[in-house]
Symmetry: C2
Subunit: 335 residues, 2 copies
């Protein structure tokens, strides 16, 4: 489950209000199916108040590149559909209980329906891109979809493995999370038909923001307030994330034993959670996870250098800063 | 699981040997992934000796329309990948035990990996079509992929419902099975760039052949030899298919009770199987299922009228006849 708070994206939300509304209308129109259950599940998922963060990046990137066509909102919607499809399949795979603070779809309608509706959303994403008529965008998004799968497979085979190395973990999140952020940026460049240099720059922006985003998400899972209300979901699901990799690396043999036990058992107690947070703070693992996110954030901001100044560039810049700062506050003002 | 025997497709296999080999090489090349488990599962599935029936239709349709480009084999491979992806997801959904006489992938690697690799195959299918560069083909295939999902959802919500009506069932198989056959025919027409009339004709050919194919498959599940060796898989999995709908419709209240019990229970005995086959024969349900398939077969053959005679047209014609005849022999020569 994502923990990064909605406020982090204000710079983009404020700027793109109207265009985001047209993304939402497009999504709702697209989720109609002759099979009522398909519409029902698809609507439940899309109307769960997601942040549409990837859509915002695609739109802002396109606008920063001077695009005023309407089709950039269609491509943004397609990217959100790919994201929604992966969420549905992920929840089945992780047996997640909550998604965006609502009960995960597969807990209501079952795994079978969630698998199928995920496939339906993927199909709709491709249909939208077909209608826009951009073969290049189709190539980028289908490539990202495959990257996501490869990332998930790496995580699946490496999960429960508390001794996951940093490079292994970075490969996982680069594929699992950053690939779609990168595609969002690149699709913005494609629709605006800018130079290859700018297209590469927007890919880099997306990739590095995506990695920062995932690291912040990893850290925020262990903020005290998050553990009070929703209960350290990654930790409870036995997911090895960046802060745990650091803490395990830096831990005594007793601490390592604690992490192994918790990650493998999956039925952790509230005391285990408190203990985990204590170890993560003491070993500076949370702080260093945020610091690492900051480094990727700097690279993301630097990638924007080749674009002319303007409101969209500023918003894409500010969203990086805000995402990381708000997480820092949440993690370290309370603890 | 598919029961239609491989020999049924000889007219196409003989004719398209070389082109089918290039489909297979393309598939194997495409299933390489940096994640070993992805390659392993994808290869297991694709090398299980599937019939490549949909690929053959696409290729023969393209060649009948005068296409000599290489890209028709790429599109044929993309269609096989979509098919393979749906098989992987289906097996998870149905909890199928066997697939093409081998153990179903999800029994070896688990549901999670099967879901993900299915997504990977879908992504590869789209990547291939992007490389071919045909937006029209992309639209047709992504539309078919959504149809398949809608058919599966209809079946999911209607399964265990022994009182499924004929029109309800026909809608299910039209979407679940015939949509991809139709897409195979249509993609052949698209790549050969023929008139809209011919494109419609090849869609019709595919749709009607697909429906006939599914009905034959439904009937063959209840052939005595099939029940001896693999055990009436539809029946054991509690799947309501066309012959069962007929037998239930025509049955006494005692027979209806039998069908309800077997479909709902799912743990049928060998005696139940024998009883089912007895009822299906006595009520002429198997015979009438094959007769219905023959009717759709006639419509499929008629759809070819607007094409000039030639080896590919003859093969597409003969494959319809052979599919149905061989099933008839299998069902009624033994019983």
């Amino acid at each position: 489950m994502s923990h990064v708070s909605k406020e982090s994206y204000d710079p983009l939300t404020d700027l793109l209000g109207e265009e985001l509304e047209s993304v939402d209308s497009l999504l709702l129109a697209r989720l109609r199916s002759e099979v009522p259950l398909v519409s029902e599940i698809a609507n439940y998922l899309v109307s769960s108040g997601g942040k549409r963060f990837r859509a915002m990046i695609a739109i802002a990137a396109a606008r920063m590149c001077g695009c005023f066509e309407k089709s950039h909102t269609s491509l943004a919607a397609a990217i959100e559909l790919v994201h929604a499809a992966t969420l549905l399949h992920d929840d089945v795979i992780d047996d997640g209980q909550l998604r965006r603070y609502k009960i995960a779809a597969h807990r209501i309608w079952g795994n079978k329906a969630s698998i199928l509706v995920g496939d339906f959303l993927l199909g709709q994403a491709f249909q939208i891109m077909v209608e826009v008529g951009s073969i290049e965008a189709l190539g980028v998004v289908s490539g990202a979809a495959m990257n996501i799968v490869e990332g998930e497979m790496l995580q699946l085979t490496g999960s429960n493995k508390v001794s996951l190395t940093e490079p292994e973990y970075m490969s996982i999140i680069r594929a699992k999370t950053a690939a779609l952020f990168s595609a969002a940026g690149e699709v913005g460049a494609i629709i605006a038909d800018v130079s290859l240099e700018k297209r590469e720059a927007l890919k880099d922006y997306g990739t590095n923001l995506g990695i920062a985003y995932q690291l912040i998400d990893d850290a925020t899972d262990y903020s005290s307030s998050s553990c009070d209300t929703e209960g350290c979901t990654d930790f409870s699901e036995g997911k090895v994330t960046f802060p745990v990799i650091l803490a395990y690396d830096r831990g005594s043999s007793e601490e390592r034993e604690f992490w192994r036990r918790c990650i493998q058992r999956r039925d952790v107690t509230p005391e285990d959670r408190e203990q985990a947070i204590f170890y993560l703070h003491r070993s500076l693992s949370l702080k260093d996870t945020v610091r690492r996110a900051e480094e990727y954030g700097v690279v993301a901001k630097d990638a924007l250098y080749c674009f002319e100044d303007g409101v969209h560039k500023r918003a894409l810049h500010d969203v990086v800063v805000r995402s990381i700062d708000s997480a820092s506050e949440r993690l370290f003002s309370i603890s």
